[in-house]
């Protein structure tokens, strides 16, 4: 109620996503900044991060983050809301991607493809993945915890095997095939209505393909994040959370466990399918091996680092997982420059960086180096692993948990609780 924020006169007001005007305005401004990010605009470009994220090279990484985030949102529904461990999330991403290529891809002598437009292949990717999720669910809902983890792990290998059985869909192993582009067509006509994968001219502005793709993906992410946030406060969402907190208690309270777990698998797989299809299409061509265990672990890492159960946490986690490698590379690069130029801190950075034979330091600038000194790619794997350990030990609620702590500090003012 106005002026009495804790006085709820209906369940609607209690479970509002944006209860206050401040929150609405803040979210509105944030979205506006996100939309304007890729363009060279005076004020927006002064904001930290936004300054360089809008640049073309980084923008591709941001686009990858967005496709990743869609699938991660799905895993969050399964793991964060329903509490069902899954390390087979890439399998459903793969199902989505291959549905997309089968429905939307071009056929040739040894490849299948129906060449249908995006408005068919994208939903189809989600729906087929969801159906596969439902099909898998009976096996999965019977087991809990670690055992469920193993069952889902099995899916990844089944997926890899299937890709070899059907090269007509997946393309030759190690190579893959071309995915349909992000183009909006009514049917199979020659020139698309909107082409997201070519540079072009919109209204009065020049716009390149990355910027176009970014806007398309951003719109889809916003839509799906909004749906996920709303799902969490719906009847289904409450049922899933009841199952997560104690499945037996939930069932005794009248929550049909089997049905809701199946629902969770279906919705989660739908998200994965959409994310997988968009990722593949945006990448252009990817080999079947892409849908591997490492990818699935990355999804779990995104949830752990970002904060399980929260949409904003998932988005933060996705951003972190996809871009952290790049940040580490940038930092190492910057340190190298500093060390070479010789300045105030060159001694310190020189201690870390090894520029070649005989130079001390434990990070090699050479991309191809193996062993010690560490190549940059190994360094960021190590940092990544350490971070997961750090979050599990000290901040189980992830980045979102840190935000909650900061918020509660001020909410409790002038007390501590």
């Amino acid at each position: 109620m106005r002026g009495r924020p804790n006085l709820y006169t209906s369940y609607e007001s209690e479970s509002q996503l944006m209860p206050t005007l401040t929150k609405k305005v803040a979210l509105g401004l944030f979205l506006l900044v996100l939309v304007l990010m890729p363009f060279d605009l005076p004020v927006i470009d002064q904001i930290p991060f936004i300054r360089f994220l809008g640049d073309n090279v980084w923008l591709r990484l941001v686009n990858r983050t967005l496709t990743f985030a869609i699938a991660a949102l799905g895993l969050n529904i399964l793991m964060g809301l329903a509490g069902q461990i899954s390390i087979g999330h890439t399998f459903f991403g793969g199902v989505g991607a291959y549905t997309a290529v089968l429905v939307g891809g071009k056929s040739s002598a040894n490849l299948w493809g129906w060449g249908l437009p995006m408005w068919i292949w994208l939903p189809a990717a989600g729906v087929v993945a969801a159906l596969v999720g439902v099909a898998v669910a009976p096996a999965a809902v019977r087991v809990r915890g670690l055992y469920l983890g193993i069952v889902t792990l099995g899916l990844v290998f089944i997926g890899l095997h299937l890709s070899r059985v059907f090269p007509e869909i997946a393309g030759p192993g190690g190579l893959g095939r071309k995915w349909p582009r992000l183009e909006l067509r009514l049917w199979k006509e020659e020139s698309p209505l909107v082409n997201f994968s070519r540079d072009g001219h919109w209204f009065w502005f020049d716009i390149n393909k990355n910027q176009k793709t970014y806007l398309l993906l951003l719109a889809i992410v916003i839509l799906m994040a909004w749906a996920a946030a709303n799902l969490a406060r719906s009847r289904t969402g409450r049922a899933l959370q009841a199952i997560r907190d104690r499945d037996i208690a939930a069932e005794i309270m009248g929550v049909p466990e089997y049905r809701y777990k199946t629902t969770a698998f279906a919705i989660s797989s739908f998200y994965a399918g959409i994310g997988g299809a968009l990722f593949a299409s945006f990448s252009g061509q990817i080999p079947p091996e892409q849908w591997s265990l490492i990818g699935a672990v990355n999804f779990v890492a995104a949830l752990l680092i970002g904060g399980m159960g929260r949409v904003s946490g998932v988005l933060m986690g996705s951003f972190f997982v996809i871009t952290s490698h790049r940040f580490v590379e940038e930092i190492v690069d910057w340190m190298k420059h500093q060390a070479e130029e010789g300045g105030l801190f060159s001694g310190i950075f020189d201690f870390f960086i090894s520029t070649g034979q005989g130079d001390g330091g434990f990070v090699s600038v050479s991309e191809t180096a193996l062993g010690y000194p560490l190549p940059v790619s190994a360094l960021d794997d190590i940092i990544f692993g350490l971070l997961i350990i750090f979050f599990l030990l000290f901040e189980p609620l992830g980045l979102y948990g840190i935000w909650v702590k900061v918020r509660n500090y001020w909410k409790g003012w002038p007390f501590s609780y």
Partner: protein, 626 residues
């Protein structure tokens, strides 16, 4: 529903006598969408508009008629505060019957006494617990009770007793009756007379069995006219915009006036707290604008702040300490100025409010509070000073059931700590006469709010009134600065030591109870050589203290018997002894080995100590000290 309203005289003014139901009808007509009640139901506050409430009142009133109730019959209610309580109250008064409230904690034996004493015809028992109390009584003993209504069907459904009837069933019956005999209730309402009894309020009975004091429409109207008088409000008038939290027992005159009479008078919003234990949480949600509490609640709010402050992180603790210092200075300034701001306190508040006070008040739930009161028991001045300091001036007032709570009041600008304020007459308010008897020091009042008498107890009524119609309150008071009144004690409690000295035990007990560690204290010494005391600790605060000191304990009794705790309480006793003359000092004390309870007969329903039964119960402890 609109047709029903039109069938009735269209405004409250059409009725000769303004009673609670005519006032509620007035709100239903003039502001039908005004929210007058809120009840927390499954986690959200369900709202009742004035029109909805009136509709329910009419249903209930017709329900009573359908049960064959007659003018002057008694309807009793034993329930926690909830909309049904008030609705049945209004309905009862509408059909010219008399509402009798029981405490939800009244044990079965007392319920039997009360039901037979008032001769209740219809009884509302909230839930299974209360229904069991009534059904446990021999039916022949309470043959006057025709129907027992219940609000919560859980556990009662399977009961087989033709007296039982669910609240919904009762309302449905009322609706049928209403359709058949439209206007019957309104006709009865218009027949109401000023001197009709409208409620029996049972006194707590520290000495004898409870007595039912009868209040009339005239008493209530007079009482409300004074509480609405501009002279005691200074600058603001309560209106329909205001919010109230209803949590003290509605059968007590204080909450009855504060909630039921206020909502009838101005149509404000009454928020029913979930229970007395959730008051602090509910306060935070509701943020009432008017708040009345007994000292125990103020002490709890104060102790809550202190405990939480202790648990804060170092930075917050330091920050709070600064705020508390500011509050102390502001409190002293304002108290010295009769409760109003001085330039100094204004400046300090301007600093303290954004720093600490506003957040603190928000956490307590009093951020929007513009008037706060305390009464029904003595309160420590330190606590009033604290709340005044952070921006909620708490006005102490004094009254009792028998005078419709009209005796003395502290008003903004003339507040005096340690007193219960000035007689209403001294504030140039009409018809209110007040005196302190020269001989006995007893406070006596005479005004239209003085009750009609005790139900079925003519001798005791005569005893309470002087020949010329003054009400003998039984409280000893004294003048402070010629204008304000300080309450010394109940006449009956005054101790005369074997040395012949008159001592007021309450003053000493209250001084002991200002310590957050002491919950109960009873001073003993009548016809004895020296004073002793029984002390009961406050489990929350002493438990917290013990935890910090690393003292392990198991039960209340175990904690009370720890030598460290005895030392702690000895310290409190020593503090108190310093304030009093040597004959008034406590030479020895013993810990009460259990938490006192209404059910066990040590306390009255209002948590006052029953001295006689305490002396019997703990006679061994007492004799040990002499």
């Amino acid at each position: 529903m609109a047709t029903t309203l039109n069938a009735a005289p269209s405004s409250a003014a059409a009725y000769q006598v303004s009673t609670l139901p005519t006032q509620m009808l007035g709100h239903a007509v003039t502001m039908p969408d005004q929210v007058v009640m809120r009840e927390k139901d499954f986690g959200v506050w369900r709202e009742f508009t004035a029109a909805e409430v009136w509709d329910l009142v009419l249903d209930a009133a017709h329900g009573l008629l359908a049960l064959g109730i007659e003018v002057g019959d008694r309807v009793s209610i034993q329930s926690e505060n909830r909309p049904e309580w008030m609705i049945l109250d209004f309905a009862t008064v509408a059909v010219r019957c008399i509402t009798v409230g029981f405490y939800p904690t009244n044990p079965a034996a007392e319920v039997e006494y009360l039901l037979t004493d008032c001769g209740s015809v219809v009884h509302l028992a909230e839930d299974q617990e209360q229904v069991d109390r009534v059904l446990g009584i021999d039916q022949a003993a309470i043959s006057n009770v025709r129907k027992v209504l219940y609000c919560e069907p859980r556990g009662v459904r399977g009961y087989d007793d033709e007296r039982l009837m669910g609240w919904d069933e009762f309302l449905a019956m009322g609706r049928d009756h209403r359709a058949a005999e439209t206007g019957a209730v309104e006709a009865l309402m218009s027949e109401a007379r000023w001197d009709d009894g409208m409620t029996l309020v049972y006194t707590s009975g520290t000495t004898g069995p409870p007595k039912g004091a009868m209040l009339t429409h005239r008493n209530v109207a007079y009482s409300m006219s004074l509480f609405r008088h501009p002279a005691i409000r200074k600058g603001f008038m309560p209106s329909s915009e205001d919010e109230i939290l209803c949590y003290l027992p509605l059968c007590h005159v204080a909450e009855r006036i504060f909630s039921t009479f206020h909502v009838a008078e101005m149509g404000l919003t009454v928020n029913f707290a979930e229970s007395i234990d959730t008051v602090q949480a509910n306060l935070r949600e509701v943020q009432p604008t008017l708040f009345f509490a007994v000292p125990r609640i103020w002490e709890k709010l104060h102790a809550g702040v202190m405990i939480k402050a202790n648990d804060s992180s170092p930075f917050k603790k330091a920050w709070l300490a600064v705020g508390m210092r500011l509050a102390a200075i502001v409190g002293r300034e304002k108290v010295a100025n009769g409760g109003l701001h001085t330039t100094k306190s204004r400046i300090l508040t301007a600093i303290g409010r954004p720093l600490v006070f506003r957040a603190l008040l928000e956490r307590i739930g009093l951020r929007r509070c513009i008037w706060a009161g305390t009464g029904a028991a003595p309160i420590a001045p330190e606590i009033l000073e604290f709340f005044t300091g952070i921006g909620v001036p708490v006005y102490e007032l004094y009254g009792m059931t028998e005078n419709s709570a009209i005796a003395t009041v502290n008003v903004p600008g003339r507040m005096k700590l340690g007193t219960v304020g000035e007689p209403f007459g001294g504030l140039e308010l009409p018809d209110s006469h007040f005196r302190i008897d020269d001989e006995t020091g007893e406070i006596q009042v005479k005004h239209p709010g003085v009750f009609a008498g005790y139900w079925n107890k003519p001798e005791q009524t005569v005893e309470t009134l002087t020949e010329d119609g003054w009400l003998k309150t039984g409280d000893v008071g004294e003048w402070v600065d010629g204008t304000h009144v300080r309450i010394v004690d109940r006449i009956k409690h005054i101790i005369i030591t074997s040395g012949g000295k008159n001592i007021s035990p309450s003053e000493i007990e209250n001084s002991l109870k200002t310590s957050p560690y002491v919950k109960e204290a009873m001073v003993i010494g009548d016809r004895r050589k020296f004073l002793t005391a029984l002390v009961g600790i406050e489990l929350d605060t002493v438990g917290d203290w013990a935890l910090r000191q690393g003292i392990p304990y198991t039960t209340y009794r175990d904690l009370g018997e720890k030598s460290e705790v005895l030392e702690l309480i000895q310290g409190v006793v020593n503090e108190t002894n310093k304030k009093f003359a040597s004959v008034e000092t406590i030479k020895k004390f013993r810990m009460i080995p259990k938490e006192l309870d209404h059910e066990d007969g040590e306390l009255t329903a209002t948590q006052k100590i029953k001295r006689n039964s305490m002396e019997d119960m703990f006679s061994e402890l007492i004799e040990e000290m002499y």
